[in-house]
Amino acid sequence: MTLRLPLMAAALAVVIGSLAQTARAAVAPMDLVGPVSEYKLYVSEKLQKLVADTKAFTDAVKAGDIEKAKALFAPARMSYEAIEPVAELFSDLDVSIDSRADDYEQGEQDPVFPGFHRIEYGLWAQNSAAGLGPVADKLMADVNELDKRIAELTFPPEKVVGGAAALMEEVAATKISGEEDRYSHTDLWDFQGNFDGSRKIFELFRPLVEKEDPAFVEKVEANFATLDKTLSKYKTGDGFETYDKLTDADRKVLAGAVNTLAEDLSQLRGKLGLN
């Protein structure tokens, strides 16, 4: 008898939960115009910063100023990581700017290995900027091209809203493990970028969801707060500690929050009546 009751309570919870989820969205499409346009403005700002930061970074690389280039690497990437849902729509540029050595048959030695991580490898693993001139030039050209293409893009609303979850998936798959910036170990910077980007999207659409499901909003905000609090422990001046400083315990806290956010944010499109 005692065993059965928790089971029924759980079953009841499942039923109630599923009933709530069959509710159709009461959000009118026109309500989404404001947040989508605000998001594009946010992305435009980030892009301006990305262009400026990449210029400073690639200039330092070409000048052979290794210390300066190293200092500018992670901050430049933050803007890219924040806008990744939109940048990814142009997969050729995404590959050219942000791919990692595993995507190439000869790994780090592959002559085709481009972008931020190729330069990262040179600066940190080889402590040299030799031969990186052309890679830096290409990176700058790609970032400029990205800026141009995004300016001309009408943002698909489902990609904007879905971007919040997509950013958490990014973190869950590669940033949590420290494989993204494996030479510089600046993964926590990238993490912050992804986190900012995801939170921005959520905040823009939050008023629309709050009407229908305040409990959902509260839960998501709580997880964002956990991420913020945990990551903040590793802040240093303008930036972050290297990934190796992340304690096992904190990594698990982050993983739990990130996975839960990915789960919850995956419902955002449905809640807003998209796709």
């Binding site: 595993d102 949590i176 996975n259 995956s266």
Partner: protein
């Protein structure tokens, strides 16, 4: 005592082959009967599950190797090897010994009993008598075997190349290529493992294991009157719908088997090309994707496997009244893979995949995916063309090919005097028949 170093292949007669023990000659999908039948006196939590399929057997000798048009059983494995032979003679020995071992494993029998002071001749996983359990072992050779080592370069199959990265690939060198691939399929993983271990033990000086990937497919309950359906992959979708039928002999001749009159070298007749891909699935992310999006990405209904405008898995997709992709999106996986346009029949491939589940990644995510295996008589027109068509598909967000390779499956072994690779080695002048 068996002389393991002898150049003479040990004769099958030394082992007692299973005959007339009620083994069914043909293939029918085996099922494992979980849980021992009630035996009050010998009840134990560690009693082995009982199977009535262990004596199922696939013929080994034939014009063509088994394991291709043979119905796919529940457990599979691809193991890739580096060939260590230093001389052509050693290469011959490798093939002959391998052939003998495979013949035994797939037919079953009692391995020789040795003096207990010696290591046993068989690993014993399947017990003192090796049961066939529907095992097939299919041997294929990689492009690297045709390098300078054995003088085989002029005899390389016309389209056999080292697998190059496709755009979405993140190939790990340690999971790719190989001189020799062996595809194991049987009713249970243990049968495959037993066989792999036997081969590894038998040929330590001639073969070095490079990578392996095991896999399985989920069985379904028997439903009388319901036609069989494709097994599901780890995305939860039926995988293998619209696979060309192995019963259509003409079709198999056209799309799978290298024909005598083809532009391939003569020795390659009755062989086929094998494309193996280890494709990781980002399953957590997939499980967080809305159902309708999953269906739009694949191009089929998840529950039934039916195409978007069909009702059963066996309905053929029909895009003639859907030129803009409003019913089946133009970039849906099945539509890109086979647009069913004029000429796309030239690119059919025979798929025989398994699902794999390895470990946990550094991010705490599951390392699971598809052990994709495809056979075709023309690697270019088959797998390579189809894979290029898929470039840019929405499914790419959820999958990442990390390993595999291209191989050429050798022609069949005709009888006990024949052996795998004989036609190739004869063509290269290295072998004497029937030794």
């Amino acid at each position: 005592m068996k002389d393991r170093k002898s150049n003479e292949p040990t004769l099958p007669s030394r082992r007692r082959v299973l005959i007339g023990l009620g083994a069914a000659g043909g293939a029918f999908t085996g099922s494992l009967v979980a849980g021992a039948p009630a035996q009050a006196d010998n009840e134990s939590v560690t009693n082995a599950p009982v199977s009535d399929k262990t004596l199922e057997r696939q013929p080994f000798y034939g014009l063509r190797q088994a394991g291709i048009v043979t119905p796919r059983p529940a457990a599979g494995m691809v193991a890739s090897f580096d060939v260590l032979a230093k001389t052509p003679t050693d290469l011959v020995r490798m093939f002959q010994t391998l052939t003998e071992e495979i013949a035994f494993l797939t037919q079953g029998g009692e391995p020789p009993q040795l003096d207990p002071k010696l290591p046993p001749s068989d690993n014993g996983i399947l017990g003192p008598v090796v049961t066939p359990d529907n095992l097939t072992i299919t041997a294929s050779v990689g492009a690297s075997l045709f390098d300078e080592r054995y003088g085989l370069k002029p005899y390389k199959p016309a389209r056999l190349v080292r697998m190059a990265s496709f755009r979405n690939d993140a190939l790990e060198p340690s999971l790719c290529h190989g001189d020799l691939s062996l595809q194991f399929s049987s009713n249970t993983p243990d049968t495959n493992i037993h066989a792999l271990r036997a081969i590894v033990k038998r040929l330590p000086d001639l073969l070095l294991l490079r990578w392996k990937q095991e896999g399985s497919v989920p069985p379904i309950p028997v439903k009388p009157g319901v036609p069989p359906g494709s097994a599901r992959n780890f995305l939860g979708f039926r995988d293998g719908s619209a696979n060309p039928s192995p019963h259509d002999a003409n079709l198999m001749e056209r799309i799978v088997w290298v024909q005598p009159d083809s532009d391939e070298p003569g020795w390659a007749t009755h062989g086929t090309y094998q494309a193996v891909r280890i494709i990781r699935n980002f399953v957590e992310r997939w499980d967080r994707t809305p159902l309708q999006e999953q269906q739009a990405i694949i191009g089929r209904h998840k529950a039934t496997g039916a195409p978007m405008q069909g009702t059963t898995e066996h309905d053929l997709p029909d895009y003639t009244n859907d030129p803009e992709g409003k019913i089946t999106p133009l970039d849906a996986h099945i539509r890109l893979a086979n647009p069913r346009s004029h000429g796309s029949e030239a690119n059919l491939i025979l798929r025989r995949p398994f699902n794999y589940s390895n470990g946990v990644t550094k991010s705490g995510q599951l390392d699971q995916g598809l052990l994709f295996i495809a056979y075709q008589s023309d690697l270019e027109k088959g797998f390579i063309t189809v894979q290029k068509r898929l470039e840019g598909e929405p499914l790419e967000e959820y999958i990442k090919p990390v390993g595999g390779g291209f191989f050429f499956t050798l022609p069949g072994v005709a009888n006990e005097r024949d052996f795998l690779g004989r036609t190739l080695l004869e063509a290269a002048g290295a072998a004497q028949p029937g030794n």
